[in-house]
Amino acid sequence: MFGHQEQKSIRTTIIEPSKNWFGANLKELWDYRDLCWMLALREVQLRYRQTILGVTWVIIQPLITTAVFTLIFGKLLNAKSDNITYALFAFVGLLPWNVFSDSLQRAGVSLTRDIRLITKIFFPRIIIPISNAISTLVDFLVSFVLMLILLLIYKMPVSINILTIPFLLLFTMILSIGVGIIFAALNVYYRDFAYVLPFVIQIWMFASPLAYSSKLIPQSLTWIYDLNPMVGIINGFRWAVFGQTDFPLNSLLYSFVVGLVVFSLGLLIFRRLERSFADVI
């Protein structure tokens, strides 16, 4: 049953109370990368199973949001959109925002949905929120293609800057996973966090230049407004797609640094709290 090959790569596991704060979080994550992908895939497979419209929902959702934004903010409130067709302006803003908010929401409540796994089997727990977050990338891809089609319909030229989008997407994911794992870990202890999260996301949404241009913010308040790391990312996306504004270098750098800090903090908190997950969940 044990081939010679498997004998050679015998692993030694030492089980003892953990002492360090950082631990082998990331290394274990790497060892279990297959599982991470498969769980992400599972999320995608499950999301629209037993629905009539199926994957069409991925297309419908951003279109409806864009339509609502266009109607209320674009037409009714006449929000400024940096001289770009409002619908496009809103749609492109929604791209990173949806990735951010979806993955934050999914990651944040993910652990408590998999109680049986956590209490029965060992694997790095951080895989659950991360794979949940990653699963939203599929929706992003579909929306991205949809955006290209919309650009074509509106006869907008596509900027060369669009090649930077993978990096911008990475920034978004780092930030949302960072916040997401904090919520996920805390929610294991106190379920209140699952109820707080939607409000956090909603407030965060209004504090981000989604429906309106960030130029709308009075000069005296921009220093507060720019504390939100999503401002840089969303403006970065619009720069990448339309190429009409200046490259928001400073605010993007800021977003990146904040993302890394939050992510590291998240890992730390997660590591500290995950020891007792199986006992308190």
């Binding site: 030492i14 003892e16 599972r42 497979q45 049986r116 089997i121 106190y190 006992d279």
Partner: protein, 419 residues
Amino acid sequence: MADFILRTENLSKRYRILPTAGRGWRGNQRVLVDDIARIANRIRGREFTEKRISFWALKDVSFEAKSGDVIGVIGRNGAGKSTLLKLLGRVTEPTAGRAIIYGRVGSLLEVGTGFHSELTGRENIFISGAIIGMSRAEIKRKFDEIVAFSGVEEFLDTPVKRYSSGMEVRLAFSIAAHLQPQVLLVDEVLAVGDASFQQKSLQKIKQVSENGGTILFISHNMSTIASLCNQAIVLDQGKVVFELGPVTDAINSYLSGVAKRQLAQLEETRQEEEPGPIKISAFSIRGPDGTFLETLTSGAPMDLQLDYKLQGPAPIKDVNVSILIKTLKGEVIASLDNQATIGPLTLSNREGRINCHIDKLPLTSGNICISLLVEQTGRLVDRIEDAFIGDIDRGGVYDRRKSSDNRGWVLIDQDWSVR
């Protein structure tokens, strides 16, 4: 490589509970306050007097498993068996001590844990396999074998929610069995599937040890432990009470320990904190000649005797006693109740004995435990869990039964004829 596969050194696990918390919102709030107080005090570097009661679910457990060992872990409910498996399976962290494992650990803790009911059998093989630690390539390599062993070929592309529970269990076991671990942790999973699949599973489990691995096996069933394991360890209240040794010695030690408990330690298993008007002071099972029975016999006569003491003045009326006969897993097989025969009892002495006579015990051989409940005017006044834990042996008037294995729990008087 060392000469052992698995070694634990003073492995311990402490749980802390806040006894004053209670349930619901107030309880959660108190836990939160306690958490905050603890963190705040730690930050300020102050000593924090812990309000939580801590108890050791496992304390200083040390043993060494060598290649080929099949180790039974024996103990009552709450002895720490599952905690030990959880620690070794890394589901939860030890509080102190450590364990060293050479090689891969596989758990058959609860079959089907990694399954998602909306996904098909095929999809679940991949997910569940990855969860228990196989790489995608490995699963692909073993896929056909897993499917063949489980016998669900036809339903591979059907969502698992449409499976019968038997099919689901077979598929899950099959995945876990093909992990090919060096250390296999098994928790009472053999009670699943039909007899032939059980045989197949046992063989698969034995294969692990034949190939140089080691198995830790938790079961309440002494005969399964006796037939499958060559070594055993007995736990009681988190501590090792019988060091790893030959399986028959361990089982004997466990059963005799259980017999000693019956008389001496009723107090410990008493469930009611408030002293009621009636207290059970002893419980014993005696044969027709008045001798104590440590093991019961199918079909034999016996008397179940409860010694009682009244806390207040005699007499006390409207007393009902229930003797619950349960499997070691806690399922009630039968309940003996005075209401069923003579109606409510009146206890007219301050100390006395309540006797329940059974003419022929209609239970198959196996392990049972007995719990006692005493009610007065419909209110529970005393309750003792596991007042007796022991074996039922084959014998008595049902001994003519020659069928090779025990099926079910109950023996029924029967007359057969052919025309």
